[in-house]
């Protein structure tokens, strides 16, 4: 079946997935953060029209997948997509394309620039071989967490820490009204009283404040590690709070280093399963070396989800 004219470099990058049909493959495109310019989309449509069977698939991780592509067309497809404009994604035991919500650019809820983070991680870490299993990263702009950060190997969730400039507060009570977590109550003077132990860092108080008396004192990511889905899902747990956005790449690299070291000899196993085996303290200690200001003192193990299959 091997055709000497095919550029094997393309295949090695991953993203070319064998289908049922003879000689047919799905080509998974690299779309970090799910952001796609209309020009690129148009070119993808042309290529899909020319080489596919009339439809594409929007994958669950924000990719566009070209369906029913004959392997003899691989090089042409890659060339016509334009290597500098549209690349192919990865599969297998590699760092996958990071996913992200819209972040703060146009969404009024977004607290951080998730798109910027996704592009940076994609540029610096995409395709890194882990030697063991896939590695998924995602960025959520706020605690609504549409991208579901906790089921990624490393998941980032936007967060802010609010601070009140009491002299600017007009006692309107909107923040107390908006806080769904019970972190704000009305004081005797009509101004809000903050209960920090109940705060999720969502920033609704800051967003609703009519005089901007509530201000952002700290902004960053709540980071969860060890999530996965599939047959044996795990929900990742919190390792860092208010990690500065510019340190996301280094953080992921540090987690990868721990994963590669501890998973040595363990074969095809996800990060979350290694944490279950080694314990979270080991990973906390490792991360504390470079991220001491943000790492929790302790955390819980990845949370095992009961899928109820096999039926008991």
């Amino acid at each position: 079946m091997a055709d000497s004219k095919i550029d094997l470099k393309n295949l090695k990058a991953g993203g070319f997935i064998k289908e049922r049909g003879k000689d047919l493959f799905t080509i998974r495109l690299r779309v970090p953060g799910g952001r796609m310019s209309v020009d690129r989309l148009s070119r993808i449509a042309d290529v899909a029209q020319k080489y596919g069977k009339g439809y594409v698939h929007l994958s669950v991780r924000q990719s566009i997948e070209l369906i029913n592509i004959n392997f003899s067309d691989f090089d042409a497809v890659v060339a016509e997509l334009g290597e500098d404009q549209q690349k192919v994604a990865s599969c297998g035991a590699r760092v996958r394309v990071p996913t992200a919500c819209g972040g703060c650019e146009y969404n009024p809820n977004g607290l951080v620039d998730t798109q910027k983070s996704a592009l940076e991680v994609d540029e610096k870490l995409f395709g890194t071989a882990t030697g063991h299993h896939k590695f998924k990263v995602c960025f959520a702009g706020c605690p609504f967490d549409c991208p579901k950060s906790a089921i990624n190997d490393v998941g980032f969730q936007g967060a802010i820490w609010p601070k009140l400039a009491a002299e600017e507060c007009i006692g309107c009570g909107l923040c107390v009204k908006s806080c769904g977590e019970g972190a704000l109550s009305t004081g005797a003077d009509g101004k809000p009283v903050f209960a920090p132990e109940n705060c999720l860092y969502c920033g609704d108080c800051v967003k609703v404040c009519p005089t901007s008396a509530w201000k952002v004192e700290k902004r960053g990511y709540s980071v969860r590690v060890g999530g996965k889905w599939g047959r044996r899902p795990l929900v990742g747990t919190l390792y860092a709070t208010f990690l500065p956005e510019e340190r996301a790449v280094d953080f992921i690299s540090s987690v990868l280093a721990w994963y590669l070291e501890k998973a040595e000899g363990a074969g095809r196993v996800r990060l979350g399963d290694i944490i279950l085996r080694e314990g979270s303290a080991s990973l906390l200690e490792h991360l504390r070396k470079d991220f001491a200001d943000y790492i929790l003192d302790q955390t819980i193990l990845p949370q095992i989800i009961d899928t109820q299959l096999p039926l008991r």
Binding site: P108, I170, C172, G173, L174, K177, S178, D204, K207, V208, C209, P210, T211
Partner: protein, 74 residues
């Protein structure tokens, strides 16, 4: 005093109506909006603030809310 009753109007129609009503009002005018409890009172004030109007106060009256603002520059 302009009083605009948006009770019974769901989001985002209430904000759109508020926005349109303010277009016909002179800058600097004090306006009161009546808003339902729940999503309306949590969303409309900050959307109007983002449009450049100056929020002056918010009071609960008989289970609904009265938002007082000063119309800002276009």
């Amino acid at each position: 005093m302009e009083i605009i009753d948006l009770r019974g109007v769901s989001c985002p129609t209430n904000f759109v109506k508020a926005k349109l009503a303010l277009e016909d009002i002179e800058t600097g005018t004090i306006v009161e909006f009546l808003l339902d409890d729940g999503e309306p009172v949590k969303n409309v004030p900050r959307s109007l603030k983002a449009d450049g109007h100056k929020l002056l106060g918010l009071k609960e009256v008989d289970g609904h809310y009265v938002l007082t603002l000063e119309k800002g520059e276009e």
